[in-house]
Symmetry: C2
Subunit: 391 residues, 2 copies
């Protein structure tokens, strides 16, 4: 057979065979931050295995991630101001930029076309094209009359191409409408309270709630009724008069909302607070093992899982959201830093940093199912976040 004919035969065959190489769905994928190595493990949750590692992502000591709407790309926000776009199908770093000196998190717009990063230094929010990572808008967090710039925290996306964030130094909440990137429309809510340190948005994208470090209590903004302004809630929420030592500020993104109750980590106290979401009043306190860090709801809202600050970070506790009682205490190992539920809640992944592994639990039986090696794992982020507001 002449070579030409052979090639004509082999070429389509090769394409046919090889086109399946990367052909898998991306609905069951996720990444695990390896904080010490500046790398991520790419994982899948159908058989609970590792698919590969992507390296060279800089300082990931306090990193978070969001996903593109098609789930092909993850955007990793590093503490060093680095913004990395990784391709989780082809397992490679697509682009990495250093967009500031010090950053604290990011968000992706409702339509998936804009990635926003909140910066400490210089304080503000930068908005990038999700495709190219080109800068498309820069929002310096300038406040007062002297041109001072505030650190920005609690950045989330909201419906209507909005980003909402808080100014630590200024005590302000800003709502930026990026419907036009040439002309972002910014609405500022001033005097909201002293030193907002983190914030969250409810899963429906309606309520933005910031915690205050400078005083007890929280502040709530109803994005459906912005003209009503911000409102103080939960005046008992905070360090209190005794000024308890706080070993790790709780993460507000981890709030659990089940039915009409929200479960939030106390600041300093060994308690999980229960909030009535109908009027945002306190509805109870549940004693737990240590200072809670993440309080996360199983996707069906039946249980919440809680991890803790040092020296109690070897423990996980599970609360029944109906009886408001502790139903289980687990000791998976030293340094339980983060948890992520599989999308429909049948299993939960937990990072055990000091033991260099991830443990996957059955959420019905609470039994460990798998232990997966990872280097100093911290944040775990599954692709289902692509479809959720504020995550």
């Amino acid at each position: 057979m002449p070579m030409k004919h052979l090639l004509l035969l082999i070429l389509p065959l090769t394409i046919l065979l090889s086109s399946n190489i990367n052909a898998r769905g991306t609905g069951d994928l996720g990444i695990v931050i390896e904080r010490a190595d500046g790398s991520v493990q790419l994982v899948e949750t159908s058989n609970n295995t590792i698919l590969g590692r992507i390296e060279g992502l800089g300082d990931l000591s306090h990193a978070s991630a969001v996903y593109s709407r098609d789930e092909q790309f993850a955007y990793i926000f590093g503490r060093d101001g680095g913004l990395s776009k990784i391709d989780i199908i082809n397992k490679k770093l697509v682009k990495r930029i250093k967009q500031s000196g010090n950053s604290i998190g990011g968000a992706i717009s409702q339509d998936g076309r804009l990635v926003a990063v909140s910066n400490y230094k210089p304080g503000g929010v930068k908005i990038f094209d999700a495709d190219s990572l080109a800068l498309v808008a820069d929002i310096p967090a300038t406040y007062g009359n002297q041109g001072l710039r505030s650190k920005v925290i609690g950045l989330v996306d909201a419906p209507g191409q909005k980003f909402v964030f808080s100014l630590w130094d200024a005590g302000e909440i800003w709502v930026a409408d990026l419907s036009s990137t040439e002309k972002p429309v910014i609405r500022k809510f001033k005097n909201i309270g002293k030193n907002p340190y983190d914030a969250l948005i409810t899963p429906d994208g309606r309520y933005y709630i910031a915690g205050l470090f400078g005083e007890d209590g929280m502040v709530l903004l109803d994005l459906w009724n912005p003209d009503a302004g911000s409102k103080r809630i939960l005046d008992g929420y905070g360090k209190g008069e005794k000024k308890l030592p706080v070993y790790k500020m709780p993460h507000l993104e981890g709030w659990a909302i089940a039915g009409n109750r929200a479960f939030v980590p106390s600041v300093g106290h060994h308690e999980v607070l229960v909030i009535n979401t109908l009027d945002w009043s306190e509805a109870g306190r549940i004693k737990v093992h240590g200072q809670p860090v993440f309080v996360m709801d199983r996707p069906d809202g039946r249980h919440v899982w809680v991890n803790f600050a040092v020296p109690d970070n070897d423990t996980l506790q599970i609360i029944d959201t109906e009886s408001l009682t502790l139903i289980k205490t687990l000791k998976p190992g030293k340094g339980v830093l983060h948890m992520e539920f599989e999308p429909r809640g049948e299993e939960v992944w937990a990072s055990i940093r000091d033991e260099d592994r991830i443990v996957v639990f059955d959420t019905e039986t609470f039994e460990p199912l798998t232990s997966i090696k990872a280097k100093k794992p911290s944040g775990i982020f599954f692709t289902v976040r692509a479809h959720r507001t504020g995550l």
Copy 2:
């Protein structure tokens, strides 16, 4: 160059190039049922285009679909008892079985390993292995003392590897726990009301609610408290004393739940009912253009979109869920059969059957963005359903 060397050069190159052919995320994919042709259009929602067509799926005149947890496969439930598994990455029919004479819908288990189909004839539920489509459990809907078998409707998945469904002829609700496929555990709730015709489960998987055709009212089962039994709610819900003609039974799967309000299609009346989900009492009625069929909430809960039965099926109306008022009426064309919101709600797709096209709307401006050709399109199903309970 000898042929062997040339091949060595070309082969890896070909693999390298072609390995990207299908390498895309699956988070923005979906299918549109083409009811008259027994085919589906494969679509993507990032640029709103068609990616391909898969044919040979039998009678799709009342078809629905669920997705595998990795989003690679869709399972299509046809009216003719056909169950088709399609690969939406490689765009092909993987397997098709005829599992009964007449079926009405299906569900996929929480862990994604089981696909259940509810059948009219012979009445019951069959459970298949999601991978092979091998039958793994058969649950005949036998009732009473004479060995009669009931038609099964309102089949949904629930947390804890459960399937919940209703028996039309028997007036019963069954909860089947498939934690063990060898020994399914079935709990039966009898005398729930006359002729349940469709049902839904709330997004958290807690409340199962069936509509009754044989009498006014609905029946609610709290799956967190099954010992409490079923409970009658909304006694004013139904055709009422006048026995209005019902042009098309509304679909209950389309219920919208926004905050503490549920929005449901009236039966026969030109109204959308508002329900207080705190006690499941009626909280209002909103006059609309015709007999509502699907009442669906934008993912942020701010609006609900409604389509209608003949002769008003050329219309879509939009309700503000806070003021409970109609804010917009659209006339996209004849035969508006179904709507599906993109996962974060920025756009909505609507099937316009009689005009052989799909229209995509911006949900902020209500402007049509794109018109896409499809043959007699009906149900639209996006991959995000893989991650949601009861869809």
